[in-house]
Subunit: 359 residues, 2 copies
DNA sequence: CAAATTTGCTAAAACGCTTGATCACGGTTC
DNA sequence: GAACCGTGATCAAGCGTTTTAGCAAATTTG
């Protein structure tokens, strides 16, 4: 048993200097109480600014002084224990580092959580089921208020069983299982918006280079494209929809086919394809947006903002996804599980689009 | 006061079904003990697999069954309270979402922390001092084992005062203040490695497009460039060092000057400049690596791996930085504060470099 | 067969905090 | 002068664990 040498009387040293080596035990409520010559209850009341409590100004001051003097910090664990409800929200992500996407989800979640007095407990799982289970277990042991289960690209997902032991919200993914609340980007609206950028500038023959790999984004973005055309009274032309692997190579490789379509504008499934397409078009001596207007999707800053010319695109609202996830978890936002709440994808207009050259 | 309806006798329902609405209070040790007909002490001993404890196999089994039956999860808060030391490591970052960089630091920190049984508590501050202080306060209240203070680009930093109240390690930044342990990338070695890629392929006249803005990276990468040349017996030529703003525009804009230097290869301060330079060179009808070999720095995947041709570059070891930070915090790695520990920057060779054309 | 030892388990204190109940006391009211 | 009140503080229980000391029963020892 370790005996505190200053068990009685005033503590001798003020705000722990915190040298390199052994860090002193944190100051407790009791020590403050002792220093101020009051009970721990009183200190607690002062610390928490309880309106209902009656504390003499003189006493309050004495306590406040002692707190400052000793450098007291409440022990959140102890507080949680007694209050019964923790101030944690867990966030499990399948790929924190691969893209900036997950980072934005974290960012949004953290800001929103913070706003409501919650701290974020995060775990990266690399999509590994075992890690995932461990991560969730950890969060459950910390009695998190709830868990945000997020994926770095929009997709359907199977819920780890243990997720059910807590409140949870799916972020950027969804599941048909009952009670699975979810927030996802509104791909259809995004696709519509992307196409509308082009339409707005007067383009009528607009190609869409879709992805080859199946995903909600693939269907949604195509659907949006169709809707936008239809709204303008333009007949959907199947032959204007190409498909390629959704990366630079894919975009580059699609150039040739695209040029056979005799279009003035193209909407790419994502910015990376657009980046490849830029290379392809340039190789053909074509200029953007003069010879071909281009819009992308995703708004990957590093790419879109810095291509030459900067790429008009549609933003994936990852930050909002994270924030909305938190709100939904806390019951501040409606949810009709298991149908996901869709988040608006804003457009970002840069210089890769202008009116088509007159014929 | 809320009274548990099954305060005595066997609990009636098994593993909480966790419906949508009201979530039942988590199962406690006491409930397990009751269900198994033993004391809480016994359950605790079973749960923690204490070697020193003697528990009859039959009893152990009964407890295990009860645990499974009830879906018991230990309360980490309570554990922390009694054990006195928490299993948290705090990570404060100034920009979680701006680049994938911070994400990688988080990733590395989280993996390493996990490995040692710690969970990561993160906070994004956007470089805002007030938020920073709040974030650190939060972490201190959760009695974190220590705090990783990280920045998204390598730089000197002022320590928030409250950081001193905990163990801490600076990640990707440093401070001259005493006791400030830090891990940073080895910019000099990185610069040397970048240059060596070019030298190795036989280039002798190598330009360096440095950044205009002051930073440890600016000095370090130049220093490395000089060292590599010197090691090869090549005289450092001041005129081969250009400066530009470290983004695409900068790289693009530097093309003209570069071409006056009559070099066969160029090493860019970062990948984004290289990306701009690609555009500039292409406009001049020059090919990479045929007419000009190019290496970058940072290894920003989205860019470097997907440029045409893919860019050889040097990797900023953010993942390692995060991991090393955790190890240093836990005392598993030496530190000679306040001189930062330097982490190796590995090269990533792709196709933007080959031997210079014979004259 | 008494003493000593081992086995299996429990009682209870402690961790740092919150909070409803309670108390002492000087001042009002009737 | 008794009953009452408001004020300012304290008491003590309890949150869910861990852990040490200790107890009763079973087993071994001499």
């Amino acid at each position: 048993m370790i005996s505190q040498e200053n068990g009685s009387g005033m503590p001798s040293s003020a705000a722990a200097p915190a040298k390199q080596g052994h860090r002193p035990q944190p100051v407790t409520l009791r020590q403050v109480a002792q220093a101020a010559g009051v009970s721990t209850a009183t200190v607690s009341l002062v610390v928490n600014k309880k309106k209902s409590a009656r504390i003499a100004d003189e006493t309050r001051q004495r306590v406040l002084d002692a707190i400052r003097e000793l450098g007291y910090r409440p022990n959140a664990m102890a507080q949680t224990l007694v209050s019964g409800s923790s101030r944690f929200i867990g966030l499990v992500a399948d790929a924190i580092a691969t893209t900036p996407f997950a980072g934005q989800i974290i960012h949004g979640a953290q800001d929103e959580a913070w706003k409501h007095g919650y701290a974020l407990l995060i775990a990266n799982t690399d999509g590994n089921r075992e890690l995932e289970t461990d991560a969730i277990a950890m969060m459950l042991e910390y009695k998190v208020r709830g868990i945000l289960y997020s994926t770095w690209f929009h997709r359907a997902t199977d819920l780890p069983a243990s997720l059910r032991e807590s409140d949870f919200v799916l972020v950027n993914c969804f599941s048909a299982e009952p009670g699975a609340r979810a927030v996802v980007p509104d791909e259809v609206q995004g696709g519509r918006s992307a196409t509308e950028i082009l339409l707005k500038h007067g383009h009528r023959r607009i190609a869409f280079i879709n992805a080859t790999i199946p995903a909600p984004a693939k269907d949604g973005r195509l659907q949006g494209y169709k809707e936008a055309l239809e709204a303008e009274g333009i007949l959907f032309d199947e032959s204007l929809v190409l498909e390629a692997y959704p990366d630079q190579e894919g975009g580059y490789g699609a150039t040739e086919e695209l040029l056979k379509r005799d279009v003035t504008a193209v909407y790419c499934y994502n910015d990376r394809m657009a980046m490849g397409l830029y290379d392809g078009l340039r190789e053909q001596g074509l200029s953007i947006p003069g010879d071909m207007a281009v819009v992308g999707f995703d708004n990957q800053e590093v790419i879109a903002a810095h291509l030459r010319p900067p790429l008009s695109t549609v933003s994936l609202p990852h930050y909002e996804l994270g924030a909305a996830g938190v709100r939904m978890l806390l019951g501040l936002e409606e949810a009709q599980a298991p149908v996901p709440t869709k988040i608006y994808c804003p457009t970002v207009e840069r210089n890769s689009v202008r009116a088509p050259a007159p014929v």
